[in-house]
């Protein structure tokens, strides 16, 4: 299991990286954390001819606040996001979701941008970004553009990035007070790819009414998906367990689950129901302080 040969570049700026991408297009792969790419290369499933190592572009590594948003540089390590007091305070669901990715050594290397661009349908990060309505800022030869989750994630392992574009930043809204949240997942072993991952947000009003609910599911479709019918069911309601049960059932309806060795399509779909219910209960508990 040794990778095949490649040409190796270490740009120091985004512009240089984009220039290299323009030159080599789809012969080139960006090397960020490498925690998904290098195994693929070691198996020789992937044999990029050119590797553009962006780890030298240090100014893509940051977590900062702008208004009500967190801005996270694409090269920020997952472990830094997980441990960031700012993230834990302003957007705890993000820190929680990231903590499910692999193990510490994987998160030490793995980057936010790398994980999003890899667009694995089971990815915790893509699921939580979908739930949070995060925005991806990409830079290409003509300049930059910003994409929401639905524009960004196209299908299995595929984003709308052009061959010469690079993801540079993710913008994530912070959570207002009085928000219930949860990130729950089912996996064979702790840290394995999720069979189902569910991110939920409950924006509450005074009086215990749910103003808006968001439910994102990972692992049950080619991209992370939002359970819009279930969200609508909860919006404007006082959330009861009966409502949660119903929401789970609604959410499972939209799952286009595919079978693999670990989980049949039927199982996956039903687990979407179960974990949406569990996630909503946990989120509700949090906002009620009932933990």
């Amino acid at each position: 299991m040794k990778p095949s040969a490649f040409e190796y570049f270490t740009p120091n700026t985004v512009e240089e990286a984009v220039g290299l991408l323009e030159k080599y297009e789809d012969e080139a792969k960006i090397l960020a954390g490498g925690q998904s790419l290098v195994p693929i290369m070691n198996f020789r499933l992937g044999r990029p001819e050119v590797l553009i190592d962006i780890n030298g572009i240090r100014d893509l590594d940051y977590i900062k606040e702008e208004g009500d948003d967190l801005l996270i540089g694409a090269l920020t390590r997952q472990r830094d996001v997980e441990l960031s007091p700012r993230v834990q305070e302003k957007c705890p669901i993000l820190a929680e979701a990231v903590s499910f990715i692999g193990h510490v050594p994987i998160r030490n290397r793995g980057t936010i941008g790398g994980s999003l661009v890899h667009a694995d349908p089971s990815s915790e990060l893509t699921t939580v970004i979908c739930c949070l309505d995060g925005e991806m800022k990409v830079v290409g030869p003509p300049g930059d553009r910003t994409l929401g989750p639905e524009e960004f994630f196209l299908t299995y392992l595929t984003t709308s990035l052009e061959p010469s574009e690079i993801l540079v930043e993710v913008r994530i809204p912070t959570l207002p007070q009085n928000t219930g949240w949860s990130f729950v997942e089912l996996s064979r072993r702790v840290s394995d790819f999720a069979i189902v991952g569910v991110a939920t947000l409950l924006f509450m009003e005074d009086g215990g009414i749910c103003k808006e609910a968001r439910i994102a599911l990972g692992g049950v479709a080619p991209t992370p998906i939002r359970a819009e019918e279930a969200e609508e069911l909860l919006a404007g309601q006082k959330i009861t367990d009966a409502l949660i049960v119903k929401a789970g059932e609604e959410a499972a309806e939209i799952a286009e689950a595919e079978p693999d060795y670990h989980a049949s399509a039927e199982y996956r779909k039903d687990m979407a129901r179960v974990f949406v219910q569990r996630g909503l209960r946990e989120a509700l508990n949090k906002v009620r302080g009932g933990e």
Binding site: G34, N42, V104
Partner: protein
Amino acid sequence: MVGYRRIVVKVNGVQYEREVEPRRLLVDFLRDDLELIGTHVGCEHGICGACTVLFNGRTARSCLMFAVQADGAEVMTVESLAENGKLHPIQEAFREHHGLQCGFCTPGMLMTTYEFLNENPDPSEEEVRKAISGVLCRCTGYKQVIDSVMAAAAEMKGK
């Protein structure tokens, strides 16, 4: 050498300058080029954790990095733990509590524990369990590894 890159890397406090092919995995560089054979290769896809080293002070799978990426970096391997003929308290604890049998995953266990106890000097058993869950061991069933890490924490805290 065409296609080779010159790198300068500090491993266990010693600076090395070498020419490497870009595709050379960091673990192969450590084991074959620097002859630091304490780091082991168990799966080459990032799951087993036997090859775990500290890269700029943080654990990393040396099978998922290229040696060229270590240019200018500091790497710590299992060989760095014992000093002046004295085992590190983590190593002592693993010996005291039978935290190893065949010893093949042990470098990964030790380096993982080293980082973990730096970050969390007073862990619960559950935290220890989680921390070492990134290293696969086929011999011990982990129980005595967990005992070892708990004992190492107690010992290191006492100092």
